[in-house]
């Protein structure tokens, strides 16, 4: 663990010293210090629940620390004034971006601060467009000021957010999981942009679960574990193994985690020429019982849309789905459920959990029929037993099953969703980005879980935009692009880096169609 170099505090853009914060008896931060130097990209990593969000909220002036100091340019600042001071200096770019889709790029950038002419009643459109153009050109963003934000891709939206920050000459940016929706090319572009910003004296706090990116992009990395700062080090000397160990307390040997496929299993589901009006352009595949099939592709490749079509939620869907030899007619959700098909969606907050309902309810929605007595009422005892069994099997950490499910960490929430389906004994389970926004420790737990599920005979399709994840999980990977499967890979034939190369080249040369 490298020690941080002592530096004149007056130079630090923003700093907290020895802050602690607890929420209703739970200690979220214990004596954490963090500082941000000018022109640096400072990575913040840690498991869910390690305290990252709490620290960021304190830094942004949203939360008051129980103890400790907030320091700006060497002088302590009262947390109540912090937000006001930071309004001119700080811009936070969240994972779910906060832009208005029905407004243009220029309008979004100047939202709340539009240049006016005359008696400040009328918007000075010309000045707005000119200023926007200026910022966009400076940053090398290939967008027009009057482009409608709703039509932009995730990475373009992100660039608009950055442009917004730069337009108002913000000196500090907080970026929360900025690369989860980006392709490799777009990530490189983002890295370029961040270098550019750094050259202009802007400092960035970069929060991410993707340790390789953090190591590439950041100058320094702060690791939080269980509310404490366990390290603040130069990114140059670090390694993923080291960071993982600091975050989680044990070494995770990535190469070793691979699924061993079993032979001689019958086909459980066959898809023939599935098409839907939203993006799926003719996909055929076969899934065997107990197999884990990976779907890889960038955002927009059609992975989600394919799984939704199979689950009965696809719009204008055509094609044949056969489960255990029987063809399902026009698929709808009821039919999918009746045929033992389950889907764990991509965005657990939006379409997965019932946030204010208790944990046990969230687990039993699908399987509820099993818990009914003769009168059609839910038997609490049976329910409790089912919930306890599931929690044990999936190692779900919950203080009490009647707590609201939103009180759980992201990883545990995801496990609750998997439990929901597990309770219903599905034949086929589809997982869409099952570990998005989940910390390293919980990620590997979920991989193990999914593997065990497959071992019990369930056919699993797992979609992910993280190739590494599929390397650990799947036996076969189907690479999708623009709604079609362009190539298939058997994992056992590749090492991780070989796979990465082969998949990248397959995506860049779509003419090279494989099996």
């Amino acid at each position: 663990m490298s020690e941080e170099v002592a530096i004149d505090s007056r130079l630090n853009l923003l700093e907290v010293s020895n802050v602690s914060k607890s929420f209703s008896g739970v200690q979220a931060l214990k004596g954490v210090s963090f500082d941000l130097k000018p022109s640096e990209v400072h990575g913040l990593v840690g498991e869910n629940g390690a305290g990252k969000s709490t620290l960021i909220n304190i830094l942004a002036g949203n939360l008051r620390p129980d103890t400790g100091e907030i320091i700006m340019h060497g002088k302590p600042v009262d947390y109540r004034r912090l937000k006001g001071i930071l309004a001119k200096e700080l811009s936070v770019i969240y994972q779910d971006l906060s832009l208005c889709p029905d407004l243009s790029v220029a309008e979004n950038i100047f939202l709340g601060a539009m240049p006016t002419k005359g008696s400040a009643l009328f918007i000075d459109n010309r000045a707005m467009l000119e200023n926007t153009n200026q910022v966009l050109t400076e940053l090398g963003v290939p967008l027009r000021p009057d482009d409608l934000v709703g039509r932009l891709s995730a990475s373009e939206k992100q660039l608009v957010e950055i442009a917004r920050a730069m337009c108002f000459q913000k000196k500090i940016l907080f970026m929360d999981e900025p690369t989860s929706a980006l392709s490799k090319k777009e990530i490189l572009k983002l890295e370029e942009m961040m270098d550019h910003l750094r050259a202009r004296g802007v400092s960035i706090v970069f929060i991410s679960h993707k340790l390789d990116e953090v190591m590439d992009i950041c100058n320094r990395i702060t690791v939080l574990k269980d509310g404490e700062r366990v390290a603040c080090m130069d990114a140059k000397g670090s390694s993923i193994a080291q960071l993982s160990r600091l975050m989680v307390g044990r070494i995770i040997d990535e190469e070793k985690i691979k699924r061993v496929s079993k032979n001689m299993r019958e086909t459980i589901m066959r898809l023939e020429d599935i098409r839907s009006t939203d993006r799926v352009q003719g996909v055929s595949l076969e899934l065997k019982r107990g197999e884990i099939l990976g779907l890889y592709g960038f955002v927009g490749a059609g992975k989600t849309e394919l799984m939704e079509a199979v689950f009965g939620m696809g719009k204008g869907y055509t094609g044949k789905i056969t489960v255990e030899g029987r063809e399902i007619g026009k698929s709808n959700v009821k039919k999918a459920l009746a045929n033992g098909i389950g889907l764990v969606t991509e965005d657990r907050k939006k379409s997965g959990i019932f946030s204010i309902r208790p944990i046990f309810e969230n687990m039993t929605y699908i399987a509820i029929r099993k818990l009914l007595n003769i009168m059609g009422f839910v038997e609490k005892k049976k329910e409790r037993a089912m919930v306890d069994e599931l929690a044990k099997k999936l190692h779900i950490k919950m203080p009490a099953p009647s707590n609201e499910v939103r009180s759980l960490s992201g990883g545990n929430q995801q496990k609750v969703l998997i439990a929901r389906w597990l309770a219903a004994n599905p034949k086929i389970l589809m997982l869409d980005e099952p570990t998005v926004g989940i910390d390293v420790g919980s990620k590997y737990e979920i991989y193990k879980l999914v593997s065990e599920l497959a071992d019990s005979g369930i056919g699993i399709i797992c979609a992910s935009s993280e190739l590494k994840e599929l390397y650990h999980l799947a036996e076969r990977i189907l690479v999708m692009s623009k709604g079609k499967v362009i190539k298939e890979f058997r994992i056992e034939e590749y090492s991780m880096s070989q796979l990465l190369e082969s998949v990248s080249s397959a995506l860049e040369n779509p003419a090279d169609k494989g099996n």
Partner: protein, 331 residues
Amino acid sequence: MGEVTNVELGVATTGSKLIRLIKRIGTGEFGLVFILFAVNLVFFILNPAFLSQENLINTLRSTAILGIISCGMVVVILTGNIDLSVGSIAAFAGVATALAVKQGASDILAACVGIIVGTVIGFFFGLTSGLFKLPTLLVTLGSQYIVRGALYQIRDGHPVTDLRASFSFIGNGYFLNVPIPVFIMAIMFIITWVVLSKTVIGRKIYAFGTNQQAARYCGITQTSIKTLVLTFSGFCSGIAGVVFSSRLMSGQLNIATDINLQSIAAVVIGGTSLAGGKGGIVGTIIGVIMFGFLRNGLNVVRVSAYWQMVLTGAIIIGVLILNHYRESKEE
């Protein structure tokens, strides 16, 4: 990690059930209940006759109709929807019941007519909302006029009068010294409670109200839920209509014009969130009773009906503000 006693989340992991209940009331989970309780206490102090047995029974009876309708309303609100047509359906069903009595139907048969009429109307507009994916707020905004207007048109403005005297039993009779309407209200509360807390349908209702999208992925469709809840609300309105007709011994066209507002107020006072997914019948019962006593008290001190309307609206807004503060505290 330290001990987690989630009182703010409404679930304390220490203490008996009663203490938990009191804590929940204290944190405003049951809305303005304790404020209304205090107000009622004031009425009692001003005039001890307020809590005499006679007044108690009278008040309960006059709240009964509100209570019955609120059972339907709370189920609708729990799904994140609202039903503005309850008054109109109650009136329509009431007149239908009166007509049946006039045609010689027995009490039971006439009651069935009224209930079925209410249920069918509710079903129709519920299905419409579901199939066309329309917000029930808008659909029932329109249906309340359709139903009330149709009623006036069919009857040409005339109420149904001259009913046989024995029909007054449902609305004015007693059973074991308790007014029949209060019995009916109690039975409805129990039925609603059982459905909401013990059945699959109850789970579906809460799920849909919490997160409609996630509910879709669990196989719970908009069509089924909206149809279901508006049908149940129509069912409750139908029952209310029967009680109305029996109490008034006639089928009046202009009854229940502001019961919409009152039942929404009762439900919201009881801590059920208008956004759906949170709340339930227990709070509603308390809200109905508190609200009923409040109105009774105001009548006793001769506050005009118009001021009472103002007050009802103010209470709804007050509860919403209170909930807002509770939500932001929970963040």
